[in-house]
């Protein structure tokens, strides 16, 4: 399998705060990579760098052989069509109805008629298990529905890569599992490579082909979920077992 996304020695800091300090990560074509890490470990920053919303201070981000941090303006915009991103809060446009949200990229980038786009939007909504809500506004939806509509929007342009930003955060356990199932379904049916960031270990084990742990701005371990479970690294062990005592919390006290 070839590499679809590669991050090489990525550094990023905000003012004086160093967030990423030499991050290296490879994501293979067709795999589901899950990056886990504590709050404030730089997971969201990692994701924003991959899609070019933030520029790294140092290092390279290579997506399908192209260096994304060297692109700008229109090229970067076009490059982003390869991606679909599911935001933590859904980030649906409140001023547009559900079908306009799902069909947004199609409305903007294609010459299809409104009826065709509406039909396509319904088809994508059907894929995430939602029917008959095309004309509702985002404010009328529940949290789980919003996430699913956002997922439908992310796959509307049939991207090669999907980015999931904490897909299960803020959902009840059943809805969280529905989302997990959907992520697996997307991978199988559309053959999409994906990068997920989460701190929900249950979800991570379920959807990951490989997992990586982000700590203090670096990836400290990468491997299949089974391998991470029998890790000898005390930091990874503390995180995946969810214990309050261990090297991570000790470090916090030292700060």
């Amino acid at each position: 399998m070839d590499t679809i996304i590669e991050l090489i020695d990525v550094h990023k800091s905000f003012n004086t705060k160093q967030v990423l300090r030499g991050l290296n990560l490879k994501i293979l074509r067709g795999e589901s990579m899950v990056v886990v890490g504590g709050s404030g470990s730089g997971k969201s920053v990692l994701m924003k760098i991959v899609i070019g919303l933030l520029k790294p201070d140092m290092g390279k981000v290579i997506v399908e052989g192209e260096e994304i941090n060297k692109l700008s303006g229109r090229n970067l915009n076009n490059f982003r069509k390869k991606f679909g991103m599911l935001f933590q809060g859904g980030a649906l446009f409140d001023s547009l109805s559900v079908w306009e949200n799902v069909g947004f990229a199609l409305l903007e980038h294609t010459d299809l008629s409104k009826e065709e786009i509406r039909a396509k939007a319904s088809e994508k909504l059907d894929m995430v298990g939602l029917q008959g809500i095309e004309d509702l506004m985002p404010s009328e939806l529940s949290g789980g529905m919003k996430k699913r509509v956002a997922l439908a929007r992310a796959i509307a342009m049939e991207p090669d890569i999907l980015l999931y930003d904490e897909p299960t955060t803020g959902l009840d356990p059943i809805m969280a599992d529905v989302i997990n199932e959907l992520i697996l379904h997307m991978k199988k049916s559309l053959n999409i490579s994906s990068l997920t960031i989460t701190h929900d270990m249950k979800s991570a084990y379920k959807i990951a082909d490989r997992m990586a742990m982000l700590f203090e701005g670096r990836i400290i371990q990468v491997g299949i979920p089974e391998k991470l479970q029998i890790t000898s690294n005390p930091i990874v062990y503390q995180f995946i077992t969810g214990s309050a005592r261990g090297p991570i919390t000790d470090k916090n006290y030292q700060r």
Binding site: N78, G84, G89, A91, F104
Partner: protein, 270 residues
């Protein structure tokens, strides 16, 4: 000894922090001015780089223009009436009551029409832009636009700036007319002025350039209101509190810039 050391060190800290504050103030002022300028340049380039979003522009024109009509009407009516009343009281002292019409018309068209409309719209539409874009920013909708390969400058900012530039003069024409009408009605009905003489005084001394200058000024105010509103919205950070700050900031900054640029423009266009 130790206490003394502590004291001197806090002293130094205190001094440094004043200088720091001054420096920080100029730093934020300059960087904000720069950001607004860059936003304006980007909007200008997008205006020619891609076809205009007509539907959104028309919607924003409604938002800025049509929805501001009631407040503009009320403001202009009362301003015209109070102008007539005040200048009547003044002119009566040297028997020049007939000049009231001239003063009301010139003040409305050259100064009060554009400026008061600008201030009212800054409070109504400028704050709305900052609040709406600010909420979109903190809920990641702006980032979502980028990920869907749509540039927020093209999709959100250009329509709003255009709406400001186009609709402010329209509202100003309305305010000019209603203000003059308000002054006329008050003079005729309450102060018992002669309608024919009043009308003649109103239009005899007015030149077309008075109206042009007023409209040109109002167009500049429209640019200020929408650019500042958009800038404050897009630079929002930190949840609901940030949106509140952005909204207040937009109204305060655009109101100040309107008053300052009003003086500069009037001096230049004399």
């Amino acid at each position: 000894m130790k206490i003394k050391e502590k004291l001197t060190s806090t002293d130094q800290k205190g001094k440094r922090s004043i200088l720091e504050d001054i420096g920080r103030f100029f730093y934020t002022f300059l960087s904000e001015a720069g950001e607004i300028f860059i936003l304006l340049c980007q909007a200008f380039f997008w205006l020619f780089r891609a076809p205009l979003k007509w539907k959104i522009t028309l919607k924003q024109m409604g938002e800025v223009g049509v929805n501001s009509v009631p407040v503009t009407l009320i403001t202009a009516t009362f301003t015209g009436m109070v102008l007539a009343l005040q200048s009547y009281i003044g002119f009566k002292r040297f028997n020049a009551e007939t000049m009231v019409g001239t003063v009301v018309a010139l003040s409305m068209v050259r100064e009060l029409g554009p400026v008061l409309t600008g201030l009212i719209v800054a409070g109504r539409a400028g704050s709305e832009m900052a609040a709406e874009l600010g909420t979109m920013k903190v809920t990641e909708q702006i980032d979502a636009l980028y990920t869907l390969a749509v540039d927020p400058i093209h999709y959100l900012i250009v329509p709003r700036i255009l709406a400001g530039i186009i609709m402010l003069p329209v509202l100003t024409i309305l305010a000019d007319f209603i203000g003059i009408a308000g002054g006329y009605l008050l003079s005729i009905k309450v102060l018992k002025a002669n309608p024919v003489i009043y009308m003649r005084r109103t239009f005899d001394h007015m030149e077309l350039s008075d109206i042009y200058i007023g409209l040109l000024k109002s167009s500049c105010f429209g640019l200020i209101i929408s650019t500042v509103g958009c800038h404050k919205g897009l630079s929002t950070e930190g949840g609901a509190e940030g949106v509140g700050k952005a909204t207040t900031g937009a109204v305060v900054l655009s109101s100040m810039l309107i008053l300052i640029s009003d003086y500069i423009l009037t001096a230049l266009l004399f």
